[in-house]
Amino acid sequence: MRFYEYESRRILAREGIPLSKHGFAQSAEQAKQIAADIGGPVVIKSQVLTGGRMKAGGVKFADTPEEAEAHARDILQLEIGGHMPRGVLVDARAAIKQEYYAGVIYDGFRKLPTYVFSDMGGIDIEEVAETHPDRIGRGHFSTILPHMDFRAKDVIASLGITGSELGRLTPILSNLARLFLKYDMTLAEINPLAQLEDGTFVAVDAHMDMENEGRPRQRELLEELGVGDEETRAAREPTEFEIKGEQIDSVDHRGVAGNVTEFDGNLGLVIGAGGGSLTLFDAVRRHGGKPANYCEIGGNPSVSKAANLTKLVHIVARGVIKACLELGYDPAEKIAVFRIPGAWEEEGFKILEKYGVEYYDRSVSMHEAARRAVEKV
């Protein structure tokens, strides 16, 4: 789950990382007041969950509170990448001596979190990695030993940074690593981390992602930030259909049943296990079919959970049939094909037989089942 910049800044402040003077506004008048309080030149930044704000006109500079008000009015009405802004951030504009990058992510290879640090901040770190790989320092740290500052210090010093810079940067990178673990983040990034003319450092922009699996135990922080359970913060807004799927899934933890996704198409897929869903989705498309939605059932979900989900998909065996009957459909007509390749197949076939649903066992491949389903629709 992605955080807005203003939320990410609040998390940084909570953990003692210095920030430029700023405020969050949801109206032009509020923006004007914040600019007046800051005094001096400010930047107005759109608060959207997408990149490319600068290019889209979502970041503007103002020298007076009146200018700040006018820019805020424009930006608050500006849609960026399909997203309307949540508000604007009014940020003090200070003279910057140098920009750094500080980030923490997981390394799936080493199965540990790693720092990523660079003295070339202000641009995408991916770009730095390509053009100046020697300007990026990395280093793993433990998830079970207490976090020690020297780990962060080693990474910063590996770029040749020494003197007071090393002393000032070390606690910032260390605190970023601590908050990464404390709040179940999968990404915590400050870019740029700016050194001002007086030698001090402030975070000027920040980006954080919390793992969805971590949300239940991060209630305290999420409540403080005002993030409700219904906010998925996905790359695109969930459809009503997907939100209902999520609600059914959250009712009980046994088995995965959910991850419902809607597409423009005419064939509903209810699939046991995530890997099967990916395979079948490919197969349906390969035979010219258009998946309308996607829903996986894994582990051993309860019958009612499967039934509720299928009700939603409108179209595992007991659940699907039960849902069709409850909705007044004839299962034989609504269900194109049903394939059970393994566990509990005999029990499943008995039920399907009773309702006249076309079914296959393991001797019919997933691709073949997909082809027959596409032909029937």
Binding site: Y106, G108, F109, K111, L112, P113, E126, S142, T143, I144, L181, D184, T186, E211, E213, G214, P216, R217, A234, A235, R236, H253, R254, G255, V256, N259, T261, G272, A273, G274, G275, G276, S277, L278, T279, F281, D282, A283, R285, Y294, E296, G298, G299, N300, P341, G342, A343, W344, E345, R362, S363, S365, M366, H367, E368
Partner: protein, 318 residues
């Protein structure tokens, strides 16, 4: 547990969270298949039994009363309690942990893996169905009820590794029907961080004389396939024929699901590990990477046996 086999007919294991609905089924299925489950743990349920398997409050209590440290543990407790259960097993001396539970926060997984590494234990999963050596033993829900498992998994010569539990059985069943059979199949789990990756398990398969070839099931996302490709190029195969100049590799056939995801960047399907984060992780890139490492990529599951036979034939005549 001996040598390069994760499990054999003498492997003893326990089930943590044994009184849960899913775990009760799993216990029945494993016992029916011939596995040695010497006990189960559910705090507060001491003195009960599940299909004849005694239940204890803790792993330490189990070890004390049964009089032996089990070789392995299948962990089926809810995600909130998984880390505690896995630490408990590792600290009691258990060396092989199969984590069935899904939706465990990544940090917890990293912590479990870190402790396992410190203590010389191995983790399979999380979010997996476990391990099977057809006709010998199984550990975990892999294959479902014993009768269904026997149909899908016939003893044979092909090793299977899969990020998807269900697809482990789908592929194995296809190999069995084609007469190739399965030596060992491992559902490795689909999360962003897992205890044992393809590359980390390859040496075990390469050391196993029964295994003649490998089939892997892959998805978009993650860097596990890149790791396998690198491992293949940097390490010599263990199956060195006497007098041969270069090491002989086990032939590998891969099946790649989720090719459609290339057209939908930023969308998440199936496992958490499949979030496409950049060009290097697309299905198309991954296929290219696998092929350049000498791995054949099948378009459909039904093609796998023929591709494998082709590869085995070229090994035999080389």
């Amino acid at each position: 547990m001996s040598g390069h086999h994760l499990i054999d007919e003498d492997t003893t294991f326990i089930v943590q969270g044994i009184t849960g609905r899913e775990a009760v089924n799993l216990t029945r299925e494993n016992l029916d298949y011939g596995s040695n489950i010497i006990g189960g743990v559910t705090p507060g349920r001491r003195g009960r039994d599940v299909h004849g398997v005694p239940v204890f409050d803790s792993v330490a209590q189990l070890v004390d009363e049964v009089g032996q440290v089990p070789d392995g543990s299948v962990v089926t407790v809810p995600p909130t309690f998984t880390r505690d259960a896995v630490f408990e097993a590792i600290e009691a001396g258990v060396k092989l942990i199969v984590i069935v539970t899904e939706r465990i926060p990544r940090q917890d997984v990293a912590q479990m893996v870190e402790l396992a590494t410190l203590r010389g234990a191995r983790i399979i999963g999380p979010n997996c169905l476990g391990i099977i050596r057809p006709g010998v033993a199984k550990m975990g829900g892999i294959g479902g009820p014993a009768a269904d498992t026997r149909k899908a998994y016939e003893p044979g010569s092909i090793g299977v590794m899969s990020r998807s539990g269900g697809m482990t059985t789908e592929i194995s069943s296809t190999l069995s029907a084609a007469g190739l059979g399965v030596s060992t199949a491992i559902s490795i789990g689909g999360d962003a961080i897992i205890g044992s990756t393809y590359a980390e398990l390859m040496p075990l398969f390469e050391a196993d004389e029964q295994t003649e070839g490998i089939v892997i099931y892959t998805e978009p996302g993650g860097r596990m396939e890149a790791q396998l490709a690198t491992w293949l190029s940097e390490n010599e195969g263990a199956k060195r024929p006497v007098g041969a100049e270069r090491a002989d590799r086990l032939p590998i056939v891969a099946f790649m699901a989720g090719r459609f995801m290339d057209e939908m960047p930023g969308m998440s399907f199936g496992h958490a590990g499949t979030i496409v984060e950049g060009k290097a992780d697309t299905a198309a890139e991954k296929i290219k990477r696998l092929e350049s490492a000498g791995i054949m990529v099948a378009e459909e599951i039904s093609e796998i046996p023929d591709l494998m036979r082709e590869k085995l034939g070229s090994v035999a005549t080389a």
